[in-house]
Every structure is written in structure tokens, then in C-alpha cells.
């Protein structure tokens, strides 16, 4: 496969960023927006072409005789050489998941580009301030995200990992005059930075032992657990690999080094994918423009963590404990986020928490994936869910954006009963809700169902737990749906003030995404993506019993929501009063933010930084100054010697001479 297309896929967004960033101000808003969208459109086409080529062209470099899909490095140029073996390269790795991610990213990104043309202007069609900047940042983000998914080595991934963090920072803080937005962006960056620290150390450890950054080398390790511990032969990467695969690595604080490395890397993933306890940035990130939330904080960037774990999956397989940690974290997060989502009033926050819990689903399914159960169904399931979730969550967010754009508020209490006014939004939003609730035949049903069956294979408890989460998911989504579109009528909805559907630039993406959501479930995903590249027909593993159960669960949840929220009634208030404590905690997101505020401000700033600064100014600096002070004091102290009295002088003279002689005599004798 030629090199030009992959390079273009990366180069066009980068060029767009630089171009719009430098001379965006000079050109008109519309031109800038159109340019950005066109650029993204081109990338979209190229990416589709590439993915299609990879999956269906059947070239030898992509798929071997056994029908296994291979990892193919299209180009790989040295960027920075640390040692002979440790080299950061920038390249383009094509394999099932990266191809899949290419499709996802370009699709959503293009939709968002298009959508923003309509969204980023007020009702009179006046563009927002910094419209060009917005598109520049969008291009930057697309570039970094694409670079991330096609990374050929873990350090390239880290580089773009940082870049997506930065572009997300810029986009969250797009309305930089809004203090809340500024602090949200700061929070997002710092929390993820903290996670990246773990990621970095993990990379360092891993690369030290394996002597390489390359995914292909890292993941081509034979899969055995790490049994006993002895020293690794560090002479060459091969021996190191051999050592690791045969379970060689010193125990460090009770866990093998590999475990440490993998867990630390997973911490990086937790940061980006907003797993507990590093989730706090994501809800605040909703301060950014809604298309940004759709693109970054629902569809693409937040699943980077999942992608990372999937990328290193063979390594994780070698270390059961790491996978267990992934599972546990995922399960807890999923439940937590679902509970919180049931109580939020800001629709974007509800969606944010649902995102967290859905990503947690993917994590769990990765955590439970084992080759021995259905040939690693969980891996495929999580990738599948990643795909479908990207689509319907983007759909939901864009729909929410449409609502916000129409109403001018994030709060569902402002909305109520909009179904008549905004039919397109209504229907597309409904499709999204059905998909996420897991109603056949929408895409969400299939992916979630596979996750559940994978969980079921792994352990029944996980299965029950996740089904519970699924139930709540369906519940809060429909709560949201009803509260927005039904509940009660607002009185003041006449004339041209009445909320109405959006311009085509906004509608088209909604419709397209809705269409995808409807059909995506029928993609034979197993043939395309699997943990070891061997295609298999997941219908073979399709478990109707689990499917029916989950379906029943979803329907039950929807019915409950209908009862409670379809018409205005007292039930919700009753529920709320029934368990006030739980409700309050859930409403305040279990006070995580307060906890973090306390740690950062009171402990770090109050108890570390200020004392240190004081110490520096007064102790260290004081010591330095005290030298000078002592000198001056001494000079004052010996002042009397120079008394101006000749006889005094002579006295000292004599004493000096005698002492000089006397002491020497004493020393000699």
C-alpha cells in the first residue's frame, strides 16, 4: 500500500491547524469553517479508503493464508533516538483496531466539523468570536487523535496522547473569558497529566525490560503468566523478551515489574478514559462547546484509554492481576457513573456520566476477555461497543447540542415537551436513547449484549453487576428523554421565539449518525476485529438467553422511566424523599470534586507549597543573608581596636608580637 495516503491522512489536519491558526484571522469565518470541513472531508474519504483496503483488499501484507489479519507498518521514521534499541519513531501502523478507529474518528470529526458550521453561530447567523480558532483546534485535535491511533510504538502514542490532552485543554477552554471554562480546562489537563505520569513511568519500566517501544515487538510475546522471578539478561532486546516471557523480572513491592508497568500504563488510560477516581475532569469538560464534547469527550479521546489497553492486550494477558484490576475499576466506575447520571439536571452532564459508564463497560469487557472464553470475545465486544457507542453517543451529544442551541440552556427544566417543536432532534435523540438502552435492533443492543455474555463467561457476579448497570443506563437515558421531550408543556412557546429545528448543517449529521446507529449492529464485527487477528463468527457465540435477559432488563427500565417521567407527576419527588441521603450524595457526585479540592488546595498548596516557599525565603535565603549580617556584626565588634590612641596601638603591637613568638614557642616545645 502506498505511503502517500496515510501521510495525507495525518498531514491534512496538521496543515489545516497551522494554516487556520496563522492566517485564520485574515479570512472570513465562513471560509475558514468551510476549509476546515473540506479538509476533514478529504481525510474522511482517505481514511475510509484505507480501512476498506485493509479489511477487504485481502493483500498479503494485511491478511495471511490462514485468514489472520496482520499488523502492517506502512511507514516508520526515526524521530528521536535514545539508545540503539530505544528509538522513538513516528509511523503509521495499520491493524484491525487502528483501521476501525480511523473510521470512527474521521466520521465523527467530519460530522462535528459540519455541525459546528451551524452550531457556532447565534440565531441571526452571526458567527461566534474565534470561529477560525475553533476550527484550527478541531483540526489539531483530529491530527493528534489520528496520530494516536496509528501509533507504531508506545512512545509515539504517548506523544499524541499529550497532544490530544493539550488540544482538549484548548477546546474546553474555548470560551476563555468564562472562569468556569478556564478552571474546567485546567482541571482536565492537570488530572490527565497526573495520569500521564503513571503512563510515562509505566512506559519507562516496560521499555527498560523489553528494550523496545514497538507495539509489534511488545505484543508478539508468547502468552504465559509470570511464574517465578529472577534477573533478566539485559544484553539484547531478544534476551530481555525471552526473559520476560519466561517470567523473569524482579518482584518490586509484592508485584512483578510487569504488573507494575501494566498497571501504571492503565493509570494513564484511566486518566484519559475518566475511570474512577480520575473521572472528575470529564463532567466539567462539558463547559466546552457541545460539538467538542461530542467529538472529544464522548466519541474519540475518552476511549483512548480503552484503545491503549486493547493495543497492549497480549501483554495484559500475560499478567492476570492487571486485567483483574482493569475489570474491577471498570465495574465500579460503571456503577458509580450510572447512579450519578440518574440525578443530574444538566443534560450534558447526564450524557457525560453515561459516557463514563459506557467506557467502563468497554474496560470491563477487556478485563474479562480471555482467549479461553469464546476466543477472547470480550476484546472484540469492547471494540465493537467502542464503535457503536462512538456513533450513538456522538448522536446524543449533537442532539443535545441542538437542544441547547435552541433553548440556550443546559438545564432540562428549561426544556420539557419539545417533541413537537423539534421533530428531527426528537426522533434522532430517541434512536440514540434506544441504542444506548440496548433495544434490538439498534447497534447498542449487539455490542452490549456481547459484553454481557463475555462477562457471564468470566464470572456470574460481574454479569449481574453489569446487567444492573445496564438497567440503570436505560433508566436514566429515558428519564432524560422524557424530561426533555415530554413531561409538561411550557407556556411561552409562540411566534418566532418558539424553538425550532436547526439548519441543515446541524440536521444532516444527526440523521447520518442515526442511520449508522440503526444499521451498525449488523456489521459482522467479529470477522474484522479480534484479539489475535483470527476472524470468527460471533453469532456462533451469540447467547440468546443472555440476550433476552438483557432485553427484558432494558424494557423494564424504560417502562419504569415512562411511568415516572412521561407526564408530570409526584413520583420522582417521592423517590427523592424516600432516600434523601443517597440522592444528595449522588447529586453531588459523591463529593469527589470537594475531596480533590481539599487535597490540592489545602494539602498540596497549603501544606507543601506555601511552607516550602516560606522556608526558601526565610531559612535558605536567610542563611545566605546571615553571612553578610555576621560579617557586618564582626566588623562592628572589632571596631574598638582602632581606638585612635597611640598607646593602645602600641599595646596591641606588643601583645601581637609576644603572642606570635609565644605561641610558636609553645608549639615547638
Amino acid at each position: 500500500m502506498s505511503v502517500t495516503i496515510p501521510i495525507l491522512i495525518l498531514a491534512i489536519p496538521l496543515f489545516m491547524f497551522i494554516f487556520l491558526g496563522l492566517c485564520g484571522k485574515k479570512m472570513s469565518h465562513l471560509l475558514a469553517g468551510t476549509l476546515g470541513t473540506l479538509g476533514m472531508g478529504t481525510v474522511l474519504v482517505l481514511a475510509y479508503y484505507t480501512a476498506f483496503n485493509y479489511f477487504f483488499s485481502g493483500q498479503a501484507c494485511f491478511i495471511n493464508e490462514a485468514g489472520e489479519r496482520l499488523q502492517h507498518v506502512i511507514f516508520n521514521t526515526t524521530w528521536l533516538q535514545f539508545t540503539d534499541s530505544l528509538v522513538i519513531k513516528l509511523g503509521f501502523l495499520l491493524d484491525p483496531i487502528s483501521a476501525m478507529m480511523l473510521v470512527v474518528i474521521t466520521t465523527i470529526s467530519f460530522m462535528v466539523h459540519l455541525y459546528s458550521l451551524g452550531y457556532m453561530r447565534d440565531h441571526h447567523g452571526v458567527f461566534e468570536k474565534g470561529f477560525q480558532r475553533f476550527y484550527a483546534f478541531l483540526s489539531l485535535f483530529s491530527f493528534s487523535m489520528l496520530g494516536l491511533v496509528v501509533a507504531t510504538n508506545i512512545f509515539q502514542m504517548y506523544i499524541f496522547w499529550e497532544l490530544v490532552g493539550a488540544s482538549s485543554y484548548l477546546l474546553i477552554g474555548f470560551y476563555y473569558t468564562k472562569p468556569s471554562a478556564v478552571s474546567a480546562s485546567k482541571k482536565a489537563f492537570i488530572v490527565t497529566r497526573f495520569a500521564d505520569l503513571g503512563f510515562l513511568i509505566g512506559i519507562l519500566t516496560l521499555s527498560y525490560y523489553t528494550g523496545t517501544f514497538n507495539f509489534t515487538d511488545l505484543t508478539s510475546v508468547p502468552v504465559e503468566g509470570l511464574a517465578d522471578t529472577f534477573r533478566v539478561d539485559l544484553s539484547t532486546p531478544e534476551t530481555v523478551l525471552a526473559g520476560i516471557s519466561s517470567g523473569a523480572a524482579p518482584i518490586f513491592m509484592g508485584a512483578s515489574v510487569l504488573t507494575w508497568a501494566l498497571v501504571l500504563i492503565f493509570v494513564g488510560g484511566m486518566g484519559k478514559s475518566a475511570m474512577l477516581p480520575l473521572h472528575i475532569w470529564l463532567p466539567d469538560a462539558m463547559e466546552g462547546p457541545t460539538p467538542v464534547s461530542a467529538l472529544i469527550h464522548a466519541a474519540t479521546m475518552v476511549v483512548a484509554g480503552v484503545y491503549l489497553v486493547a493495543r497492549l492486550f497480549p501483554l495484559y494477558l500475560m499478567e492476570n492481576s492487571a486485567l483483574v484490576i482493569v475489570t474491577v475499576v471498570g465495574a465500579i466506575t460503571a456503577f458509580y457513573a450510572a447512579v450519578v447520571a440518574c440525578t443530574q439536571v444538566d443534560i450534558k452532564r447526564v450524557l457525560a456520566f453515561s459516557t463514563i459508564s459506557q467506557i467502563a463497560f468497554m474496560m470491563v469487557s477487556l478485563g474479562v476477555a480471555r482467549p479461553e472464553y469464546h476466543e477472547g470475545l470480550g476484546y472484540m465486544a469492547s471494540m465493537f461497543h467502542l464503535f457503536t457507542h462512538a456513533m450513538f453517543k456522538a448522536l446524543l451529544f449533537l442532539g443535545a447540542g441542538a437542544l441547547i442551541h435552541a433553548i440556550g440552556s443546559n438545564d432540562y427544566t428549561e426544556m420539557h415537551g419539545l417533541r413537537k417543536y423539534m421533530p428531527i432532534t426528537h426522533w434522532t435523540f430517541l434512536i440514540g436513547c434506544l441504542a444506548i438502552a440496548g433495544i434490538i435492533p439498534f447497534s447498542g443492543f449487539f455490542s452490549k449484549d456481547e459484553i454481557l455474555s463475555a462477562a457471564g463467561n468470566y464470572s456470574v457476579w460481574v454479569y449481574i453487576w453489569m446487567s444492573l448497570v445496564a438497567f440503570m443506563t436505560a433508566f436514566y437515558m429515558f428519564r432524560l428523554y422524557y424530561l426533555i421531550f415530554w413531561w409538561k408543556e411550557h407556556t411561552v412557546r409562540e411566534g418566532h421565539h418558539a424553538p425550532h429545528d436547526q439548519p441543515w448543517t446541524m440536521s444532516v449529521p444527526l440523521i447520518i449518525l442515526a442511520a449508522i446507529t440503526c444499521v451498525a449492529g449488523f456489521i459482522p464485527f467479529g470477522n474484522l476485529v479480534s484479539w489475535n487477528g483470527e476472524p470468527y463468527d460471533f453469532m456462533a457465540h451469540f447467547d440468546w438467553s443472555i440476550a433476552t435477559v438483557s432485553l427484558i432488563v432494558a424494557v423494564a427500565a424504560i417502562l419504569l422511566a415512562t411511568v415516572m417521567y412521561r407526564k408530570e407527576n409526584k413520583l420522582p419527588a417521592k423517590m427523592k424523599n424516600a432516600m434523601p441521603a443517597l440522592w444528595r450524595w449522588a447529586f453531588h457526585r459523591f463529593y469527589w470534586d470537594e475531596l480533590y479540592m481539599f487535597i490540592t488546595h489545602k494539602i498540596i498548596f497549603g501544606c507543601v507549597c506555601r511552607p516550602l516557599a516560606w522556608f526558601d525565603r526565610h531559612i535558605i535565603d536567610g542563611t545566605m543573608d546571615s553571612f553578610a549580617i555576621v560579617t557586618n556584626k564582626a566588623s562592628n565588634a572589632i571596631k574598638p581596636l582602632q581606638s585612635g590612641q597611640v598607646q593602645m596601638y602600641v599595646w596591641l603591637y606588643l601583645i601581637g608580637a609576644l603572642l606570635l613568638g609565644g605561641i610558636t614557642i609553645l608549639c615547638l616545645i
Binding site: K639, Q642, S643, G644, Q645, V646, Q647, V650, W651, L654
Partner: protein
Amino acid sequence: MFCCGLYGFLTRRNMIAMLVSLELMLNAVDMNFVIFNRFLFPGAMEGMMFTLFAIGIAAAETALAIAIIINIFRSVHNIDVRELNQMKF
């Protein structure tokens, strides 16, 4: 003798008296030389020679000191050495 001179020099307030005691000290030095020469090294006359010159030098010093003291007496009408402490520290 040297010590007497020393004592005088360090204690007297009158400059002339100080000069006198300085003379004492110098003469003590001369005596030293003469005596050492006479009893320890009777061969050569070095000590004697030195003494002659030392006497001369002492005379010169005294003359100069007297002159300066007169000068200062002219300007402040007082030859108390303890008063001479305008410049200090």
C-alpha cells in the same frame, strides 16, 4: 632597662616623657649588642659597629619626633597623647 622604657612608653601621657622612655628602649638595645659582642663573640666588632649606627639613628629619630611634637603643640597647645584621637575606627 628595655622593660622600663616599655613601661614608660605605654603609661606616660606626656609625649616628651614617652620619647624619653623610647630612648631608654633604644639604649637597652645598644647595651644588648655591646654586651653580646663583648662576652659571646669577642672576636669581631660587629655589635659595636652596629651600636654606633644605632645611636646615630636614635638621635635622628628623637630630633624628628621633637620637631613634630613642637608642631602639634603649636597647633593645639597641648602634648597629651590621649588627646590625639580625632581619627579612629
